[in-house]
């Protein structure tokens, strides 16, 4: 009788879950009912079952749909863990440091020519360096050396990558692909962003198969490093570099003509950063960026008020 009631209650679960686990769930209930005899033991069993239903039924309805099987002409590759080394990360960090030192040299040169205080100059760049580095970290995301539960589904018109280590699941359609890039560590599928949306490590079993399939979409490039330079030099990034390069001379020269346009640009950058942080829910962790970008502006305003 208990089993019949529980069998009826299983209709509360989604059909996909019932189809897959109905027999096993009933078997487990049967095992417990067989082992837990007596009035109190049976009461405890039913209490557990009711609590379990209350917790697990909503969870099963929230579960994302299972990935569809590859269509004819497609295939699926999967590995328990795979090394996902991306050479571009190191290269890009070096590039960023070069920009930083170039900006510092420019500032120091202008500062020396203007007879400005070197101490103030170094203090200002000390404040701006973390700003640039944190911004770079945001753009590249957390670097993952290994992915767990890696899965790649390649079809004639789309490619899908999933891995469990950071709950990544993305599908890219053939029509959205802007470039295919490759280096010794693997190849990436670009959809316009600076980073590849899908990364296929060269150590993946079946790598050549994927490569062959995607070569039919478009030729694969072998750039010096995998970041898209055109995306790197977008207007927003150039404006930020300009701010970094010109803040210090602006503060040291203490000219109202420098201050006003910089104040306007800074307000714009600050507004866009704040908006993006709120949209991406990163306000708490990323609050340092608007605060840091405000400091030079405040120092500049104080310096102006004293002249």
């Amino acid at each position: 009788m208990s089993e019949k009631i529980y069998s009826w209650l299983l209709h509360l679960y989604p059909e996909t879950f019932r189809d897959e686990y109905r027999t096993d769930v009933l078997q487990l209930f049967r095992d417990r009912a067989r082992a837990e005899r007596g009035f109190f033991a049976r009461c405890r069993l039913w209490f557990d079952v009711i609590v379990d239903l209350a917790v697990s039924v909503p969870r099963e309805y929230r579960r994302p749909a299972r990935p569809a099987k590859p269509k004819p002409g497609g295939f699926r590759l999967s590995e328990e863990d795979v090394a996902a080394m991306m050479n571009s990360w190191r290269m890009s960090r070096i590039t960023l440091m070069l920009y930083f030192y170039a900006a510092m040299a420019l500032g120091i040169g202008i500062g020396c020519l203007g007879g400005a205080s070197r101490l103030a100059l170094f203090v200002m760049y000390g404040l701006l360096a973390p700003f640039g580095l944190v911004m770079h970290y945001w753009r590249t995301g957390k670097f993952k050396r290994f992915w767990l539960g890696y899965e790649l589904i390649v079809e004639t018109d789309r490619i899908r990558q999933r891995h469990a280590s950071d709950a990544y699941d993305v599908t890219v359609f053939r029509t959205d692909v802007t470039r295919l890039i490759e280096d010794s560590a693997g190849f990436g599928v670009m959809i316009g962003d600076a980073r590849p949306a899908i990364w296929v490590p060269s150590q993946l079993n079946g790598y050549e198969l994927v490569r062959e399939q995607l070569t039919a979409w478009m030729p694969i490039n072998r750039p010096e490093h995998l970041y898209d330079h055109r995306a790197f030099f977008r207007p927003g990034r150039v404006v930020r570099c300009l701010i970094i390069a010109t803040y210090v001379p602006a503060v040291l020269v203490q000219s109202l003509y420098w201050f006003l346009p910089l104040a306007l640009v800074s307000a714009g950058v600050l507004f866009s950063l704040t908006k993006r942080q709120l949209r991406e829910g990163k306000w708490k962790n990323g609050a340092i960026i608007p605060l840091v970008s405000l400091i030079p502006l405040l120092i500049h305003a104080i310096a102006l008020s004293r002249t």
Partner: protein, 116 residues
Amino acid sequence: MPKLKLTPLPSAAFHILLALADEDLHGYAIMRSVSTLTGGKVRLGPGTLYGSVKTLLEGRLIQEIEEHPDSELGSERRRYYRLTSAGRKLARSEAERLAGMVRLARAKRFLKGAHV
């Protein structure tokens, strides 16, 4: 965008990985093992257990193996599960994360004693 809920590892999933650390088990044996390991404090219900098993299978942290005869349970059909190397790694990292939290709790004097 659909996402697997494995980061951080849910408590039920972690218990299942621990239960499978030493041997391949079927559903009821996993439930009994978890209950034994936790001194009866955790009793996984059928829905929670198989929901977690499904998530772990999708994440390739455990794998289903060919059923094999079980002398204790006769000829009833059983699906056995085995911990994968990815599952073992994830369980280890989760254990390290929890150990770190215990160290923190001890440093803040929420816990007393020399050992966890």
